[in-house]
Symmetry: C2
Subunit: 126 residues, 2 copies
């Protein structure tokens, strides 16, 4: 039984969430050891929120949880890849399916790809 | 013209390399602003090596460069996604196609998926 090396980079390891069906990269967030343990025990992608400094069960407030289908660890044991079923269809707080909706051309121009799936004001309403 | 926000996380932004054809996630490395500029100008994925503390044109020594087909930036502007054509077929220094060749089960057991494409001792020989 081998764990990622949480002694690295201040205990926070970058974690990629990828759609298990389409292969689309949905988002990147960070895990500490507590988030890792919670992900394994619950089967729901759980991160450490750097801004809120607390455990972040993705989708806890929006209902858009990520059901973990497969877990991968990289060669150095310091990056995690989750293959997930994204409930609600969108991983991004903007309502876009993927957080990577901004396409950058080699001349530096940026365009937005796709349209939001949901209205964030509706999903995150008070 | 919008750049990723290199003022964050000490100027180093996590960068995911994904196979542009298959969608397989190949590796994660870090870019500083110099690496970003070099990636855009050269069309070859260029990172900042944290261990060697220098610019790292991926594949410079092995010949296994990553030709950049598409560049994406996330909603917060602090993570980069490159869709690449991985020359030589393998992104990992171990010879595996992807660095994420270790599969972790929810009970914590780890298995190796796939076989190395090349022999690292041959590719990185002195």
């Amino acid at each position: 039984m081998l764990k990622p090396d949480f002694s690295k980079t201040g205990g926070l390891l970058p974690t990629i969430a990828q759609d298990s069906e389409t292969g689309e990269v949905l988002m990147l967030a960070y895990m500490n050891e507590e988030a890792w343990d919670h992900t394994l025990s619950s089967g729901k992608a759980t991160y450490w929120s750097r801004s809120r400094q607390k455990l972040w069960i993705k989708g806890e407030s929006s209902g858009h949880v990520q059901m973990v289908k497969e877990i991968r660890m990289d060669c150095d044991g310091d990056t995690i890849l989750l293959k997930v079923d994204q409930i609600g269809g969108a991983a991004c707080h903007t309502g876009h399916r993927s957080c990577f909706y901004q396409k950058v051309e080699r001349d530096g121009t940026v365009s937005v790809t796709g349209k939001p799936i949901f209205d964030p004001d509706e999903v995150y309403k008070k």
